[in-house]
Amino acid sequence: MSKVVRTVAPFGPQHPVLPEPIQLKITCEDEKVVDVVPAIGYCHRGIEKACELNDFPKNIYICERICGICSCIHGCSYCEVIERLFGVEIPPRAKYLRVIWSEMSRIHSHLLWLGLLADAFGLESMFMQFWRIREKILDAMELTTGQRVTQSVSIIGGVRRDIDSEQQKKCIDIVREVKKETEELGKVLMNDYTVKARTVGKGILTREQAITLGCAGPTLRGSDVAEDCRMQGYQAYGELGFEPIVEKDGDSYARAVVRLRETLQSCDLILEAFSKIPEGEISIKVKGNPPANEAVFRAEQPRGEVFYYAKGNGTRNLERLKVRTPTFANIPALLVMLPGCELADVPVIVLSIDPCISCTER
């Protein structure tokens, strides 16, 4: 009888499917994965410490750079947590504008991910098609905020720019177009038999495991748990009638479907927000230094829940700023999903949690 040999294969930190560095030490028995040990710490930048050394209004621009893809939501979340520290309420129009820009960045993040998923299978053309749609959303961002990726549009006390009626009309056209095209392309991607062969039943995370491991975002909702921070109704979500999107299977396919459906839902949310947006001020003046107090804020990013904690001490600098990002919550789930799968399925399963390592390590 031949003896099964165990080998340890390093996956990353440089790997074609990973845009960012994370290493997984994968122990294999023949072609089967039996154990995974993650190693992180390749792109730590010390952002939390930098935020303590900087003046608090300047931190918005550092926090936006925690992540390149969800930068708008990071900026909004930082502003929200400081507003809570001050105990001020921003004008309703600013809340709606923040929701519109946050949802735009969700669409752009999910389309980017769907493109990367197609690329991981080798569907190069599909990858470019998704990114072509994404380009329209980036144009809408540039039109309204002035920048494609790092919007820098949130300030403490509201937002810096308004969307006038002409821009609004253009944005509505773009969002409708994006929705139509994503629907068409999504059908092609999700009904493709090669995609199904690579994702259905691969990387299963059960409902109980997802809850026990404290997963977040589409990883959690793909395992039949209706949990989304937008349900709390922060900013203007409470007035938009938000319902979380849930899939039952808990495999890579379910997580992809959640993201695809969320893209379409975000388009609807933007259209609804545009129809309900009130007139009025877009920002209020916030004077003074943050008081010696604490505040927390939870927001839903494209990848899951982001948690902001800020502690002031009455000076221009914060005593402490803590950020907990969704990928950090989703890495333990990987260690449950991977054992038992084939080595060739590892890239797709790793991609299915949408890892954002620069967020995680900050």
């Binding site: 900087n54 209004p57 621009y61 550092i62 144009d139 002035g146 920048q147 820098s152 810096r160």
Partner: protein
């Protein structure tokens, strides 16, 4: 086949989705944050921009009466332009071209401070 026909026709006459950059450059949107420009006639070296800049891209030398701007550090956040009391900083739509050497702009502002009445 009939299902595919509209897509085929669209792709045949739709033209490419990409541009031949840098030969063909897209016109930037109105109010895109491209780069910042200083107006030496208006600036009074008050230093508000240097204090507020999150990237430390602007330095003020009061003795030499110079404003030193490091375009490589600038993150084009528009904070300086928004807060300039004289309107001496404007944001232009065009993005800067890539550079091979780190550029440093030295300005000699000539604006005069108005006396408080």
């Amino acid at each position: 086949m009939p299902k595919m026909l509209p897509t085929i026709v669209r792709n045949l006459f739709g033209g490419p989705a990409t541009r031949l950059y840098p030969v063909e450059v897209r016109k930037p949107f109105e109010r895109t944050r491209g780069h910042i420009v200083f107006d030496d006639e208006k600036c009074t070296l008050c230093g508000g921009c240097a204090r507020r800049c999150p990237a430390a891209a602007i330095e003020i030398d009061k003795e030499k009466k110079e404003l030193i701007f490091y375009p490589g550090r600038c993150i084009i956040c528009e904070v300086c332009a928004e807060n300039c009391p004289r309107g001496a900083i404007t944001v232009k739509e065009e993005w800067r071209k890539p550079f091979y050497e780190v550029p440093v702009e030295v300005h000699h502002p000539k604006g005069k401070k108005e006396k408080a009445s």
